[in-house]
């Protein structure tokens, strides 16, 4: 997953210009532009926090996307050194996603969290097996968008498809990690999504030069925190390496399970 491309996509959808965001977090727009193009590493934690606030995202999500632990974790590790040793144990055993899910479940029952568990927006809830299309082969992103909208429960597919294509022209949504996230804000539609897994890589340019194998197409009726969160979820899927698992899925339900399982760890 390409952090810069994701940042740009989230920024464009938040309706904030490059210069405006740079001014808000106190960096030069040239520097921010270099970050968005991946020529500079992701900014420091406090700047990331400021960016998250500007983009209406939970801070932890942006830290996650930037592959940083963030002050909550690093502070905890500093206070309780044993926590770091526990991580070391996990690393030594090379525990995978499934094993970690079991540990999470254990922690959840043994030490229930006292904080109210804020429900985050989930892509899995927007997708039904009908909205998952496997083995898609086409020559460009416009056609892929048409296939995606053909599976969306909508009365005006053409309008939705054109809105997505128009949004895509404004700023490409290939975010790396094999993912492209075409999307649009279309007033009056019900929030919906479609997941395409390509039979052969889609011939479009990706910021990290990885072949594009998955498209998650998202349509929401309004801009705002929820829209941003859903988009960030797409990037998190890419960040967690969902592409390989999705390519292995043989049924729409199987692909949907991959999404739901990864999202449960957000």
């Amino acid at each position: 997953m390409h952090f810069g491309a994701t940042l740009r996509m989230l920024r464009v959808d938040a309706g904030i210009g490059l210069r405006e965001l740079a001014a808000r977090i106190g960096v030069s727009s040239a520097y921010l532009s270099r970050v968005e193009h991946g020529r500079d590493p992701p900014p420091t934690p406090d700047r990331l926090a400021a960016i998250a606030d500007a983009l209406r995202l939970p801070r932890a999500v942006l830290f996650d996307l930037a592959q940083q632990t963030g002050p909550a974790v690093s502070g905890y590790l500093a206070r309780i050194p044993e926590a770091g040793l526990l991580l070391l144990e996990l690393a030594r055993r090379d525990l995978g996603r499934a094993e970690l899910a079991r540990i999470r479940a254990f922690v959840e029952t043994e030490f229930p969290s006292h904080e109210p568990n804020r429900r985050r927006a989930q892509l899995g809830e927007l997708l039904s097996p009908r909205q998952v299309v496997l083995q898609v082969a086409c020559d460009d992103l416009d056609d892929a968008i048409a296939v995606a909208t053909s599976r969306m429960p909508s009365a005006s597919r053409r309008r939705v498809a054109e809105a997505i294509v128009t949004r895509e022209r404004e700023a490409p949504s290939a975010i790396g990690g094999g993912f492209v996230a075409p999307h649009a804000i279309v007033p009056g539609v019900t929030e919906t999504a479609a997941l395409l897994v390509f039979a052969r890589p889609l011939p479009i340019e990706a910021p990290d030069r990885e072949p594009v194998r998955v498209a998650l197409v998202l349509v929401t009726p309004t801009a705002g925190a929820r829209h941003q969160q859903l988009l960030a979820n797409v990037s998190l899927l890419a960040r967690r390496g969902a592409t390989a698992d999705l390519l292995r899925a043989r049924t729409p339900q199987g692909a949907l399970d991959v999404v739901v399982q990864i999202e449960s760890t957000f």
């Binding site: 009908r130 299309v133 496997l134 083995q135 898609v136 082969a137 086409c138 020559d139 460009d140 056609d143 968008i145 048409a146 296939v147 909208t149 053909s150 599976r151 597919r157 053409r158 939705v160 498809a161 054109e162 022209r169 404004e170 700023a171 490409p172 395409l196 039979a199 052969r200 043989r250 049924t251």
Partner: protein
């Protein structure tokens, strides 16, 4: 004064004073509902000898020292060049499309009438107000041109501020102002050429060269720019190099027109006008330039005109009378001319006078013209001052008058009535075809028909859709990659497409509900005609059952079901016709075949006596008119239309296009027990057409009922 000690500090002091005052007045203007430009013109006049020079002559003499005006003039000229470029950029030819008729009528009247009136009072003004040695002809021409100016940019701003752009009045005014602008500038270029020229012949040469230059820009430079613009898809791609290239071309164009003997501003405007408006280029450029030009450079120009405006020059009652006459004539010509022309083209008095008021706005374009006139020495400083007052008055009265004539409530009403038809029209829609390829055999024939249906520009999209059934999956993952399977099935279709040099875009994916997915993709792509292959159904004998049945039920567009009997080309086509929706769809296919150019069509109109001809007979006439000699109409009387069509179809046709209807023995039902006579009996390939919901809604719904009754 020590703080002003060299040209640069003086210039900065001037700029500071100008920006401060015009911004401050701008705030005031907004209060009273005036456009910013009124404040800027006023600020310029106040900073000039008319006020600043009167109350503080010493300070004025230091700040606006006569020798320093050259620098101010140069910078404001540069600002104007950029500004005229922006004006050209805002001029979208798309605005004219569809409204050309009334717009051209109104805008030409709104130029000719004020021009005429201006020219009429010219002899009277010439004796007292023309500078020494200026002959009557250039003076008259200039006065006429100056009277007929409309301020396109100010108008655009007023319209967008009052949310009038989408209304009928707004749309027509914008288009008119655009035509006006172009015409007035051509006129002015001619006036400048005449005034500068030593004789009549050099004026003609200048005019001819200018015309040639305009042609070169439109037919050589514009396509070239189009290619550049096509590369600049997104805003991010507008590099500084590209901006540099565009600005360089702008300067060159400006220079060229200056060399040709018409004003450099003309070249800037022309270059802006030919820059393609599609794609992000024009928009991104405008965004980059606008702030600096509008906020910094333009006020300098206003101040520069203001310094040259000396209200003190108009002192005698007689001169004020002349000034009044000029304002009156200007308003009478522009307002009166446009209003009457609009009324004649069939608009209401209210709308017409709103257009008149809007067109009467002179704004800063008038100032641009006047400054050119003053530089040329065609008008005297006194007349210049009078005309500046006229420009200020006509711009000032626009907003309050418009509020009177066209209040917001009225606007709201009109906007509801206006609907979509007045939107900037999209370019003519392309005819998009979706070919559904189910197996290797059905592809080539479908592609052949798809090819025959394509229009002459050959650029219309044709999609080939192949849906894989999920039950195929076992074979996918054991040994055979899925894309290979879909590629194998699409291969014959793509091969035929290559042979016919058709560009086809293949799409394939796994589907458990092919009918829904076919219709879904057609909906998302805005397909006009879907072509399906024929599948032998498992149950019954109906050829139109199964998936085809489901597709016909849900299709968002016309559908053609194709029965291939070795179709290689589409030359001779038979369209049997009785009337009804699906027959109309068959005629639509025939019409597309005509447009594409290769086919000869025979329409067999069957009158059976029992059924009266449907309402679609007029469509046959239209088709005949359109096709010229390539459409033959044969009228026969036969008890059974299907038998008549079958008999005719034996005569060497490539393709039989027939509507899905009981008259042809074809019915839209899931399970048929009777074989479809026409399909079985015909020896050539058959395309069975089914009208989409739009066509069905357009045509008489009673036929729908008739059909259902039979089926």
């Amino acid at each position: 004064m020590a703080i002003i000690h060299d040209p640069l500090t003086r210039f900065i002091a001037q700029a500071v004073a100008i920006l401060l005052l015009s911004r401050a007045l701008g705030l005031l203007a907004r209060r009273i509902g005036q456009p910013l430009v009124v404040a800027e013109i006023a600020a310029g006049i106040l900073l000039g000898p008319s006020l600043f020079g009167l109350i503080a002559p010493e300070t004025y003499a230091v700040v606006f020292e006569p020798t320093s005006l050259g620098l101010l003039g140069l910078v404001s000229q540069l600002g104007l060049i950029l500004f005229m470029f922006l004006v050209g950029l805002e001029l979208d030819p798309g605005l004219l499309a569809g409204r050309a008729h009334s717009s051209v009528a109104i805008s030409h009247t709104s130029i000719i009438v004020p021009f005429g009136l201006g020219a009429a009072i010219a002899p009277w003004l010439h004796s007292t107000l023309a500078p020494e040695g200026v002959s009557l002809l250039p003076f008259t021409l200039f006065l006429g041109a100056a009277m007929s100016v409309t301020a396109f940019p100010v108008l655009a701003r007023i319209l967008s501020e009052r949310r009038l752009v989408r209304s009928r009045v707004g749309a027509i005014t914008i288009a008119c102002a655009a035509v006006d602008d172009v015409t007035a500038w051509c006129l002015l270029a001619f006036v400048v050429a005449t005034a500068r020229a030593t004789g009549a012949s050099s004026a003609v040469i200048t005019t001819l060269c200018s015309a040639a230059y305009v042609l070169v820009m439109f037919f050589l430079v514009r396509p070239l720019l189009g290619r550049i613009a096509a590369r600049v898809g997104s805003r991010e791609a507008l590099t500084q190099n590209l901006v540099a290239v565009v600005l360089l071309c702008l300067l060159l164009s400006s220079w060229t027109t200056e060399l040709l003997g018409i004003h450099g501003l003309f070249g800037a405007f022309l270059f802006g006008a030919v820059l393609p408006k599609q794609g992000g280029l024009a928009h991104a450029l405008a965004e980059k330039l606008e702030d600096v030009v509008l906020v910094v450079l333009l006020p300098l120009f206003f101040a520069f005109s203001g310094v040259r405006t000396q209200i003190g020059l108009v002192d005698s009652p007689q001169e004020w009378l002349m000034c009044g006459v000029i304002v009156l004539v200007a308003c009478a010509g522009k307002f009166g001319g446009s209003t009457i022309a609009a009324r004649v083209t069939g608009m209401s008095w209210r709308e017409s006078s709103a257009i008149g008021v809007l067109m009467n706005t002179r704004g800063l374009m008038e100032l641009v013209v006047l400054n050119i006139g003053l530089e040329l020495g065609v008008i005297s400083p006194t007349l210049f001052t009078m005309m500046v007052i006229m420009a200020l008055v006509t711009t000032f009265v626009t907003s309050p008058l418009l509020q009177r004539i066209y209040p917001a409530e009225q606007l709201a009403k009109d906007l509801i009535g206006a609907g979509d038809s007045l939107r900037v029209p999209t370019p003519t829609r392309r005819f998009a075809t979706l070919v559904c390829v189910a197996n290797e055999r059905s592809g080539p024939g479908l592609v052949t028909i798809g090819e025959a249906l394509r229009g002459p520009d050959r650029a219309e999209p044709t999609y080939a859709l192949h849906l894989m059934s999920p039950t195929d999956r076992a074979s996918f993952f054991v040994g055979q990659a899925p894309e290979e399977v879909s590629a194998r099935i699409l291969a014959p279709a793509l091969e035929r497409a290559r042979a016919l040099s058709v560009a086809i875009k293949p799409i394939s994916f796994v589907s458990s509900d092919p009918a829904a997915d076919i219709c879904g993709v057609a909906g998302a792509k805005g397909i006009d005609l879907m072509l399906l292959g024929w599948h032998k159904p498992l149950l019954g004998q109906s050829l139109l059952g199964g998936i085809v049945h489901d597709v016909l039920d849900a299709a968002p567009c016309d559908v053609g079901v194709f029965i291939d009997r070795g179709l290689v080309h589409v030359r001779r086509v038979l369209v049997p016709f009785v009337g009804g929706q699906h027959d109309d769809a068959a005629l639509a296919v025939a019409q597309r075949l005509l447009v594409a150019g290769a086919a000869d069509i025979t329409v067999l109109q069957v009158e059976s006596g029992t059924a009266t001809p449907g309402p679609g007979v007029a469509a046959v006439e239209r088709l005949r008119e359109q096709g010229g000699g390539r459409v033959t109409l044969r009228v026969v009387e036969h008890a059974s239309p299907a038998e008549a069509a079958l008999t005719e179809s034996r005569a060497q046709y490539d393709l039989l296009v027939v509507g899905l209807g009981p008259q042809w023995g074809l019915a839209h039902r899931r399970l048929g027990v009777h074989a479809e006579r026409l399909i079985d009996g015909a020896s050539c390939s058959v395309l069975v057409t089914h009208a989409g919901p739009e066509r069905r809604a357009r045509l008489d719904p009673s036929h729908d009922a008739l059909e259902r009754g039979e089926a």
